[in-house]
């Protein structure tokens, strides 16, 4: 797979992972008929060790784990889709894996891509709202000179 395709796939897999489960469910229900698929790896919940950096920018250390659910499917045509998603939602991991496979099909990409874009917009709106809320609490401290020298 060429590098540009990696970038595209990174984006849609990230959008699917960061979406709320009910958003993925809503996007799913609005899609045209989903082709048949088999599981290569059924949804399975496990742990990923989250790593930080010493001082924020130094060597890595283990900060603690997070729950993650993964799933891999193969479409009837042979295309394989994967999902790795924070949390324990098997249904979201399964849908994300199927959508990952469908996005690799150029014929289906426009329709599925619109659903991905919709999910990305929801995430962007949340992030944007948070950034505006935080900005409203920005403060300028004035240093007062004490005494007259």
């Amino acid at each position: 797979m060429p590098e540009t395709d990696h970038q595209d796939r990174r984006r849609w897999m990230g959008v699917l992972a960061k979406a709320a489960p009910e958003e993925v469910a809503a996007a799913w229900s609005g899609l045209p008929a989903i082709p048949a698929y088999d599981f290569l790896r059924r949804p399975e919940t496990g742990l990923v060790m989250v790593r930080g950096r010493i001082g924020g920018d130094g060597a890595a250390f283990n900060a603690g784990e997070m729950t993650v659910t993964r799933c891999s499917v193969r479409l009837a045509g042979g295309t394989i889709g994967h999902a790795w998603i924070a949390g324990r939602r098997a249904d979201q991991a399964e849908r994300a894996a199927v959508l990952d496979a469908l996005m690799q099909d150029p014929a289906r990409r426009p329709a599925i891509g619109r659903a991905i874009d919709w999910l990305a917009e929801l995430q962007e709106a949340r992030r944007d709202r948070g950034a505006h809320e935080a900005a409203a609490t920005r403060v300028d401290f004035f240093t007062m000179v004490r005494g007259a020298g």
């Binding site: 797979m1 088999d38 599981f39 290569l40 790896r41 059924r42 399975e44 891999s72 193969r74 042979g78 394989i80």
Partner: protein, 198 residues
């Protein structure tokens, strides 16, 4: 990037199936010489038998280092191990937590695997030996933990001198490797605690 177009499915129910396989391996280890049936996974990568694949899927993960002999080594096997277990591979038998042997006649001596240390004998290698048949070979008489009086084992296709290696392995107890023989969908085990008496 790894080629993923040849990927095969793993266990149908990763948790329940793995528990059943684990239970069967536990029974085999606890009753040396007993032949157990293993639930067959949906697919096995060439040249592994279903029993070998089942044990690998149930016991291996990204923290178990695996060694493959030439006969068991194929791109399909490597891909299956990486995709379903995340297990790293090693070329050094002494580094292996698990070893998968496809041709027992050509394998390195048991003593070349990790025998564990006196402090941590549990860190030794578990060998999964795929053999032509679990019965029909020369009959060995077994004794030791998990055996009330006498048990027997008649694995076919063992090379000359293998019996001496197994005896030697037992003499180093609590250090030593554990052996699981597989064929088709069945397995039998010879843990390091078992004596070969005749």
């Amino acid at each position: 990037m790894a080629r993923t177009d040849m990927l095969l499915p793993g266990l149908a129910d990763p948790v329940l199936d793995a528990q059943q396989i684990f239970r069967a391996v536990l029974d085999a280890m606890a009753r040396p010489g007993t032949i157990v049936d293993l639930p067959s996974p949906p697919a096995s990568p060439e040249p592994l038998d279903p029993a070998t694949t089942a044990i690998v899927l149930a016991l291996n993960d990204q923290e178990t280092v695996v060694w493959l002999d030439d006969a068991a080594d194929s791109e399909a096997v490597r891909q299956h191990l990486r995709f379903h277990c995340g297990s790293p591979l090693t070329a050094d038998p002494a580094q292996a937590h698990f070893a998968i042997v496809g041709d027992i006649r050509a394998m390195p001596p048991l003593a070349s695997f990790n025998l564990g240390g006196d402090e941590y004998p549990d860190r030794s290698t578990t060998l999964i030996l795929q053999v032509p048949d679990l019965t029909g070979g020369t009959t060995w008489t077994l004794g030791g933990p998990g055996i009330r009086d006498r048990a027997t084992l008649a694995v076919a296709g063992l090379p000359d001198g293998f019996r001496d290696q197994v005896i030697e392995n037992h003499l180093g107890f609590p250090r030593g490797v554990d052996l699981i023989f597989t064929c088709g969908a069945r397995a039998t085990a010879l843990p390091r605690s078992t004596r070969v008496e005749g």
